[in-house]
Amino acid sequence: MQKLDSKIPEGPLAEKWSRYKAGLRLVNPANKKKIDIIVVGTGLAGAGTASALGELGYNVKVFCFQDSPRRAHSVAAQGGINAAKNYKNDNDSVYRLFHDMVKGGDYRAREANVYRAAEVSNDVIDHFTALGVPFARDYGGSLDTRSFGGVQVSRTFYAKGQTGQQCLLGTYSSLNRQIAKGTVKMFPRRDMLDVVIIDGKARGIITRNLLTGELERHSAHAVVLATGGYGTVFYLSTLGLGSNASAAWSAYKKGALFANPSFIQIHPTSIPVLNDYQCKLTLMSESLRNDGRVWVPKEKGDKRHPGEIPEEERDYYLERRYPAFGNLVPRDVASRAAKERCDAGYGVGDTGLSVYLDFKDAIEKQGQKAIKDKYGNLFEMYEKITGINPYTQPMRIYPAGHYTMGGLWVDYNLMTTIPGLYAIGESNFSDHGANRLGASSLMQCCGDGYFILPNTIGHYLADDIRTGKIPADDPAFEEAEKTVADRIQRIIAVGGKETASSFHKRLGKIMWDHCGMRRDAEGLKKGMELLKQLEEEFWKNICIPGSEKDLNQELEKALKVADFFEVGMLMCEDALQREESCGAHFREEHQTETGEARRDDANFAYVGAWEYLGPKAKPKLYKEALRFEFVELKERSYK
């Protein structure tokens, strides 16, 4: 049996990380030059860690599927990045940030990991400022902050509604500096299709050059996956269309355990579906809920123009149900509340699948200019997509698949169950429990990439200073490359009639209906059955025009969709075994009389980590018990 050793250090919470770091082994500067590290993904986590490792003197090889590392989907994060600076003097602290995250995650995250993420958050802000990231400032020239959902302090640093872009470009600049110095070698337009294991250790990857179709072998002493989340399993999501699960999934199939796959965040404020060919839902930042008020008409099926519905006939349901947090309840709570109203027949728009997010009061109170300063680009984006001016008419919003709290299981070193294979940022599972609070994803990605992994990886690599180059002609490389080549041949050989996007769309609908915002045992089982049928159909009828030896976007898509069937199955499996409601995971069978989630700490305070046992076999579940020494487990109330 594979043992889950989280390696969480003993000792007082606030000292765990510093004590642990002090005990880690080092690689001296001369030896670092002899060590190669592969980083896959160039978002905030990947590009950050690659530049930090390059600065330390390692030889780093970085891979991304886009034409430039600057296009990784971190670029689309809007609202902000949290840090416990307490610049507003509102009694914020590392402890409070930690506590908010543990509570926000509905007590399904590791205390020690979360505390560490909060601890390094201030360093992240300082680093970005030094890199020239243009965060918003007040008139005295100091950094400004704003508040976000699920918390009562103002700790979110931002750059208009483009914080992710600005942080990513800052990280990209530090990556470019290392590329120029030669410590980092960049490989754009590559899909990672497999990880190579030699003597039980991760020693390389197989990539497909997306321009030539050529399969390539890349060897290294360690491999870091920073490949993001798998929210595109729903087809319609807020993610970039290229975002996928395949790299992490290949690691899972090589033996890395996959944790809490069913924990997937549905973001409450996305622009609703407007046409049948839509393949992407655009997010409207959570920060809008600072000033926007969410409502639906009190009357079922009220088709009047929103401006004609008087104040007393509007139901501000978040303020009504959750007076303490109002419109700023966490995402899972806001999403379910919107779905509840729409399912009950109060939704607005042609489909009845949306609610209003109204800025009328804020504009009256603060003036249009103040609102424009804060959210100008989001308002423009909304108008471009919908053709409606949100300064004069409320936005329509609806929940959409967004962020995956689940991911590859990692220990305190951020290493997966495969020695030498690391997972950072959204691709791991460790810090957000069952629900992520807004603006903490950027914080975690950057913390993992810049400040945590560069320390922990040295401890592992200290054993490799005499290993020498890892040969790329090892039989393990040959075998991995052959497996990948065979799979590509097999998928091309199908020669069917239906496109990858069409299958993806059908797959997404199954997942959304059966493993989305609300789940029940019957629905999940049904979902798995439908997935199985669709997967069989896929392998009989997928159509891929063109050649595999060329730039072939249909082949790229099909390979990703093929993995999503398996991801979907594991999500359902995981959701089925978790007989409780917690965070984003809501089981119909487990709710209070008022419809709130009912957690079961006695039986489910664990991380569910799955082991792959073969294509036909049921995966095996391992449970890592979560110990809460510093936070009292409470019902998560935002009332």
């Binding site: 872009q165 496109t499 060329d550």
Partner: protein, 251 residues
């Protein structure tokens, strides 16, 4: 809505390309421009042909992947709008729409509507950064920056690296692209330290890549989907000259 699409098809960099005409029926006005192309591609694939290859990812106007030359303008007819944000309601029913890749010697065509923008990357490698190692940063608020300057730096930093400025320019100049980064850093204290060296190196690389010179037509600003101002080019020029003067003085 119905459209006639004239799309540039090119197998690869070595082969000569040409326009191909595709009639497309029943397009919803709510579709984005790229969704319209998805819709076309679905039909092309179902007919057994190779779909039109184009770049895209975020589909919300921020990653900079997409960029099509639509009816003679980068990113199409709407100002401050990327191709992915453009919607079909902006076109007239029955219209003929011409779709091309970016045209520039420094952006060779890879396939169909996909071009190679790695020249942009190399300009950044030459100096598009502040040399601050991880862990060396002082406390953020120890270095106040006036809101006015911070906001201006942000305006410059909003560049998404799509290449529309080059496509819009009669000289295929990359001045706006380079200037946005140079200006962002030159305005703030953290970036001033290396400002002279940076402008020198980045301009040199820009020239080496085969981008043209600026002749002040302001087409780049007009077609920039992020509305980046040509004022930054002026700022870059000032930085460039002062770097030369400094060098002479040092010599």
């Amino acid at each position: 809505m119905d459209f006639t699409l004239k799309i540039w098809r090119q197998k690869n960099a070595q082969t000569k390309g040409s326009f191909k005409t595709y009639p497309l029926k029943d397009v919803s006005p709510e579709m984005s421009f790229l969704e319209m192309l998805d819709y076309l591609n679905k039909q092309i694939i179902e007919q057994g042909d190779e779909p039109v290859t184009f770049e895209h990812d975020c589909r919300e106007g921020i990653c900079g992947s997409c960029g099509l030359y639509i009816n003679g303008r980068p990113h199409g007819p709407m100002r401050n709008t990327t191709t992915c944000e453009l919607h079909m309601r902006e076109f007239k029913d029955g219209e003929t729409i011409v779709i091309e890749p970016w045209r520039s010697r420094a952006f060779p065509v890879i396939k169909d509507l996909v071009v190679d923008r790695s020249s942009f990357e190399r300009i950044m490698h030459a100096g598009g950064f502040i040399s601050a190692n991880t862990g060396t940063a002082p406390e953020s608020n120890s270095n106040p920056i006036s809101k006015l300057i911070a906001d201006k730096a942000f305006d410059a930093a909003a560049c998404i690296g799509c290449g529309a400025c080059v496509a819009a320019c009669q000289n295929s100049s990359a001045m706006l692209y380079a200037a946005a980064k140079i200006a962002q850093y030159a305005m703030i204290p953290q970036g001033k330290v290396e400002a002279k060296e940076r402008v020198d190196k980045m301009v040199k690389q820009m020239d080496a890549e085969g981008f043209g010179f600026c002749s002040n037509t302001y087409g780049c600003e007009f077609d920039c989907p992020k509305g980046i101002s040509v004022d930054f080019i002026a700022l870059m020029n000032r930085e460039f000259f002062s770097s030369k003067v400094c060098k002479q003085k040092q010599a």
